[in-house]
Symmetry: C2
């Protein structure tokens, strides 16, 4: 039997020559190991290496060097960890390497890294939704006249949507940042799990969440429409960002005509992170009777269009204008300026300031807080 399994493995991979030795035989059982005290033990087999470093969430104070064992396996154990989600990768003799024994890999812009989850006894990680009703996910294409192409977007519908087919639901439009795409919020942002949990616990209304691709230079995340030439970068959103913003009404129309939505401003929210926060500011001004709830997460709001358009938007106060940012965020000062402007004009907003900077840890947090306040 073992031989059969091995044969399948070798053939399925089509990396025949090296497969047996490096891919199958070398697989450690589980990595990292979460110990009983919730510490994590990292291991990588690299008998020839001179130096192995761990980078990521646990290495914020500096690089962590693993220790080499006699079996050629390098290892390091952390202190006991809090419930949460953690990122990491190895650097083996200067070469970035994802953990070959960890199934869980994410891409951020152009780079892959591993993640793992810790759940302390009796606690539940808000980014895991194993035991609550699951929402569904769709990747859909819509014709966008404004940008002149078919574009891909992601739609989350809550479990209630498929269970109660007579009911209509409010919609949150949720935008990614530079170098991101329509998959960023569901992979890096754990939006599905956050929504599933918040809705199941009654802390958020069941809602549809629409995550468009906000970079007009591309129609979709890498690997979908393209032929391998998509190299995401921090230069984006490239292309004609104005075309994306000006045509945002097309997305709202597409969703309203394909889903059981509440088709008025009290049933619509929009939020975005970083560049997507800037887009949120602009879109919510341009379509100023479309969204009653607006969220700016670590938003890029440089000079905020000289204040143009705010008078119309705040003429009839939005139900919620929410601004969140971390103290160490490099966009902090831009947000100070925006708030100063809003204060001077007497435009009402809600402000949340956290520790940390321009990170997914903060954006997951802001999303959690924001969806608890809307609808």
């Amino acid at each position: 039997m073992k031989k059969t399994i091995l044969s399948i493995f070798i053939a399925a991979f089509a990396v025949t020559a090296y497969a047996q030795e490096s891919i199958w035989a070398d697989h450690l059982d589980i990595s990292p190991i979460i110990n009983e005290d919730c510490s994590a033990t990292f291991r990588i087999k690299a008998p020839e290496a001179e130096n192995v470093i761990l980078v990521g969430d646990l290495a914020k104070e500096g690089n962590i060097t693993l220790e080499k064992g006699e079996d050629g396996i390098w290892s390091w154990s952390s202190a006991p960890l809090e419930t949460g989600i953690y990122s990491y990768l190895f650097v083996v003799d200067g070469v970035r390497t994802i953990d070959p024994d960890n199934t869980y890999v994410l891409r951020d812009v152009r780079s892959e890294f591993n993640f793992f989850i810790v759940e302390r006894p009796g606690e539940k990680c808000p980014f895991v939704s194993g035991d609550v009703p699951h929402g569904d996910l769709a990747f859909r294409w819509y014709d966008c006249e404004g940008t002149g192409n078919e574009r891909r977007l992601t739609v989350y519908t809550p479990a209630e949507y498929r269970k109660d087919k007579g009911r209509r639901f409010p919609v949150l439009y949720l935008l990614h940042g530079m170098g991101g795409d329509e998959e960023a919020w569901i992979s890096l942002g754990r939006a599905v799990q956050i929504l599933d949990n918040m809705i199941a616990s009654g802390k958020a209304e069941p809602m549809i969440v629409v995550m468009p691709n906000g970079d007009p230079a591309w129609d979709a995340a890498p690997g979908n429409g393209d032929n391998g030439n998509h190299k995401p970068s921090f230069q984006g959103p490239c292309g004609d960002e104005k075309a994306f913003i000006d045509s945002f009404g097309e997305i709202v129309s597409f969703i309203d005509s394909n889903y059981r939505t509440i088709r008025k401003s009290s049933g619509r929210a929009i939020a975005g992170l970083s560049a997507g926060g800037g887009q949120t500011m602009r879109i919510s001004k341009k379509f100023n009777r479309t969204f009653d709830y607006v969220g700016l997460f670590s938003a890029s709001v440089k000079d905020f269009d000289g204040g143009e358009g705010f008078a119309e938007q705040f003429g009839e106060d939005p139900e919620l204008y929410f601004i969140a940012i971390g103290k160490d965020d490099f966009l902090y000062q831009e947000n100070v300026s925006l708030r100063k402007f809003l204060d001077e004009k007497g435009y009402r907003y809600e402000y949340m300031e956290t520790e940390g900077g321009h990170t997914w840890a903060n954006w997951r947090n802001y999303l959690t807080v924001f969806i608890g306040k809307i609808f």
Copy 2:
């Protein structure tokens, strides 16, 4: 500006200490480079390495050793390549490493590898669907009484489905192999692109494709319902495979009540690869008036249940009973035995024998041929 971009990058990754040097600054522009003659040049920066090997589709005759340049970048160029999709990864001093400069990464069971696409001038790769109408994709949960949990499945709906809302469509149920899940056919199998292209060129009927998770030990692909403890393996399908097979009618009911389907056997096909081919054989016997079209791709059909159930299934010949396998497949002999049995009984089937073995290259090919024959 450059400094700002860099700051975003460092913060977003939360791999602060090492990020600047190893992740951002070290990114080569594009990898691999597809040259004008359609050869591919592979590069990886590893100044301290002693040995760098390329494995994958181009290294079938043995490992390929890269050459070290004075800049610490190892490189190797292939001969001109045919139009197609290619897999690879590096082994740096014995450690498996995905290409840190290639955005395109896939997981097969527990291991990640890179891929790239070649399109020769004037040719179109059948696994790229950039210029044809795109089908939509949904990940949905259904209540499965047979296995006692909510389970996730993937649904492809063709572009025609969203454009013609009065029309009903046939359904192909498409099953994965051992260690796979509901995402295997869309990632490794390029099913979306194959369907988009075949439908756009009129070579296949517009159809819905349903890709369930056929491993009852799990409810979904890693990272969805679980808390990080899902370690796919070639031991699967583990759990109660019989429960999955016996309850397959629940999937058909779920699809028929949620999509505009053609609700009779002439509007249904089922196919699967390897272990999923064995499931296909069993499901199409058990539900023997449900599917008019059956496809066994490199199917695991050991002792084919001693022949039980075939008489009922072939009592009224299926429109198509399609068996495909590669000459080098380790399951070849099992399929010889099955065909001998079918021949002796006079049960009609169609047979396709190809070069190669138990590979996704073959399964993508078999799917392409099969969908051209059904509905």
